[in-house]
């Protein structure tokens, strides 16, 4: 059913002599939506699709939804490889979900679909999960559809802390999937062996010369730089250019003296597990998933809090189905089930109570169900203008050898 504008153009070119104009219009009509959207995309060079370009929702006739999410971000039955909550949703709603774990990196994913989004071509996804700043970029560029809260009644369960965010006030386009913290992760036994300490609680300890060449940082600029900015006594949620550059200098020093072995994305987990790496700046849920031999702590100076958000791409034709999925996962019982497996910050109010029945210990875990005071130790990285973002990314990448 999906015809790209190029294909229509090609069809028009080859058929011009033999096919009536009427027939041609029929062919074009099949994807008039795509053509209209494409016209919109090329007409305005600013890439902002207008409200009217949202494609027609065919959710009622096509009971499917395509969902792109990050790796290991869903409860899974390890024996069968099935996703229990997802299966239940499909049974209850009759909507079949095509769940793909193909978001590995915000920038990479954006690079993959950007051209299509700009031209209004269907990217074949109805829900994508993106980190705050990338979600902000999609909203700015008109690549997200406004959610109909009436069909997501459970969205009222969103925890207060995440109800208003600067990039999407008041959550018109996005709903958090999970949140998490960037902080210190370490191999307990090896850390003790190398330094004599059993707990790592500050960046000073991470940059201890005894760990030279045995630590990694995250290639996600905001997470790594947020921790360093806080370490220097500044506020990651509100800092100056000068303070950012100071943090870059500190990072450069650690890179050049050989302290830092690598700056990676999800890759750091394998190195931490194998023992090649002893300490990391890593993501909370990841480290918990490694088990009891590994510790995670927010640095005393503060860590960063981020959220990965579900949004419906501007080209999706199954928005209503997507909203049904969101509604399902905002049911506290379901949310608790997911949180019990992936151990990230759960954005659903009431899930903590539901968790008591599943695992009372997890219900007390501040990284999954944080209290206000706990959240006060963390900050959401300052919102950057596109120019700042570009400049800071460059400074960061240069500091880490790219």
């Amino acid at each position: 059913m999906k015809h790209s504008p190029e294909m229509i153009a090609a069809l028009a070119g080859t058929m011009r002599s033999s096919v009536s104009r009427r027939r041609l219009l029929q062919v074009a009509g099949i994807s008039s939506v795509a053509v209209a959207a494409a016209a919109c995309g090329t007409g305005g060079d600013d890439g902002t699709a207008s409200e009217g370009s949202a494609p027609q929702d065919v959710s009622d006739t096509e009971k499917t939804v395509d969902w792109s999410n990050w790796v290991e971000y869903m409860d899974i039955d390890e024996d069968t490889g099935a996703y229990p909550t997802l299966e239940r949703f499909q049974e209850e709603s009759g909507i079949s979900v095509n769940y793909t774990e193909d978001v590995n990196d915000n920038n990479e994913f954006y690079a993959k679909v950007r051209t299509q989004l700009e031209q209004g071509q269907d990217i074949d996804r109805d829900i994508v999960v993106l980190t705050d700043w990338m979600a902000a970029l999609w909203i700015q560029n008109g690549f997200a559809q406004k959610l109909d809260k009436a069909s997501i009644p459970n969205s009222a369960n969103l925890i207060p802390r995440l109800q208003s965010v600067s990039f999407d006030e008041p959550r018109d386009f996005t709903l958090p999937w999970q949140g998490g913290f960037a902080g210190l992760g370490y191999n307990i036994a090896r850390y003790q062996e190398a330094t004599g300490n059993s707990e790592m609680t500050s960046l000073d300890q991470l940059f201890d010369p005894a760990l030279r060449g045995r630590i990694t940082l995250l290639s996600e600029m905001r997470d790594t730089m947020g921790c360093i900015i806080a370490w220097q006594g500044n506020d990651p949620a509100n800092f100056t250019q000068e303070q950012f550059e100071q943090a870059i200098d500190a990072l450069t020093e650690q890179v050049q003296n050989g302290q830092i072995r690598q700056v990676t994305g999800n890759d750091y987990l394998a190195a931490l597990e194998s023992g090649d790496v002893i300490g990391v700046i890593g993501w909370s849920g990841d480290i918990f998933a490694l088990g009891e031999d590994f510790g995670f702590a927010l640095p005393e100076s503060g860590g960063t809090l981020w959220t990965d958000n579900m949004l419906v791409p501007s080209t999706s034709t199954h928005k209503k189905n997507a909203e049904a999925v969101m509604n399902f996962y905002y049911d506290p019982e379901v949310a608790a089930e997911v949180a019990a497996y992936i151990n990230y910050l759960c954005p659903v109010e009431g899930a903590q109570e539901a968790m008591v029945a599943i695992d009372p210990e997890l219900a007390e875990n501040p990284y999954i169900f944080p209290t206000e005071e706990f959240l006060n130790q963390t900050s959401v990285f300052m919102e950057l203008t596109p120019e700042q973002n570009e400049q800071y990314e460059r400074l960061f990448q240069t500091a880490i050898g790219n």
Partner: protein, 297 residues
């Protein structure tokens, strides 16, 4: 007589020559079409992109222009990565040659009935994904793995580790492109008449002299082809540096990748790609001239 014959043939030949050439063009068409669509067009697009300038006030958007300054800018920002790529790919190529030559020689002259099997063994690793094979090196070279432990016991490693150092990147490059060195070398050596080696021995040449005066010169086409097939992909590779290297081991491929994906600075990334191609072209040209084997390749 001598004057008549060419004249008579020339009156008869043209039609057949013409028909033959038309067939040739016909047969060439798919290849030329392929080149046009998958090389010429993308190349032109890339070149045009490399001259674009940012749209003022709109981060990540570019408009057509003729900004040659993208080139010096890209070069000054990434000269270090260019040089490193040259050095790493160069060392990997030499290592691959040293490893591959005896192996190819053995298969060609001593392989006997096992030749086929041995060649399959050379190619077999490439059946597994490039990425997986590179990941495997992380296990092989792990800090507490046997290789690193052994070398550390001898205290020969400058950083007390192999993984995430330049050594690991070069090792990865050498390993990954080794089959492309072995195969052309084998093809060249296998074509060689073993009686030439016997004859050299009969003329009282020392085995080393035989190698230097007979085997090596005759295998040169294989050496040139093998080194090029190893050097060119190694020069542009970024997987090995990313998975096996550290922050100080990034190559030019990484710079291109980061500019395309992370910064979305398409003009700089395109300028880097074009310069990489130009540089490889120059290196190959000089190399073939120096090797003096234009007629052999």
């Amino acid at each position: 007589m001598a004057a008549v014959l060419p004249a008579s043939t020339s009156t008869q030949q043209p039609p057949t020559v013409k028909r033959r050439s038309r067939t040739a063009y016909f047969l060439l068409a798919p290849g030329m079409g392929w080149l046009a669509v998958f090389f010429a067009v993308p190349f032109i697009t890339l070149f045009v992109t490399s001259l674009q300038v940012p749209v003022p006030g709109q981060s990540g958007r570019y408009m057509p222009a003729f900004d040659l300054m993208n080139y010096p800018e890209a070069l000054s920002a990434y000269s270090e990565q260019f040089i490193r790529s040259f050095v790493y790919a160069g060392i990997a190529t030499v290592l691959a040659l040293i490893i591959a030559y005896p192996l190819a020689y053995f298969i060609a002259f001593r392989g006997g009935q096992w030749k086929g099997l041995l060649l399959v063994l050379v190619i077999a690793p490439t059946f597994a994904s490039f990425l997986l094979r590179t990941y495997a090196w992380r296990t092989i070279l792990a800090d507490e793995g046997p290789i690193t432990s052994f070398l550390n016991a001898l205290s020969v490693l400058p950083q007390d580790r192999i993984l995430n150092t330049g050594i690991a990147v070069i090792a990865g490059l050498t390993y990954n492109f080794l089959p492309f060195m072995i195969l052309p070398l084998y093809a060249a050596l296998d074509r060689m008449d073993p009686r030439l080696i016997e004859a050299s021995g009969d003329l009282y040449a020392h085995p080393a002299t035989t190698f230097r005066k007979v085997v090596w010169p005759l295998s040169l086409p294989g050496v040139v082809a093998g080194t090029l097939l190893t050097f060119i992909p190694a020069f542009g590779d970024y997987i090995n540096a990313q998975l096996l290297g550290s922050t100080g081991d990034r190559m030019i491929g990484n710079a291109i990748q980061i500019n395309f994906i992370q910064f979305r600075d398409y003009p700089i990334a395109a300028a880097l790609s074009i310069m990489l191609m130009a540089l490889i072209l120059v290196i190959v040209f000089v190399y073939i001239r120096r090797a003096g084997t234009e007629e052999l390749v």
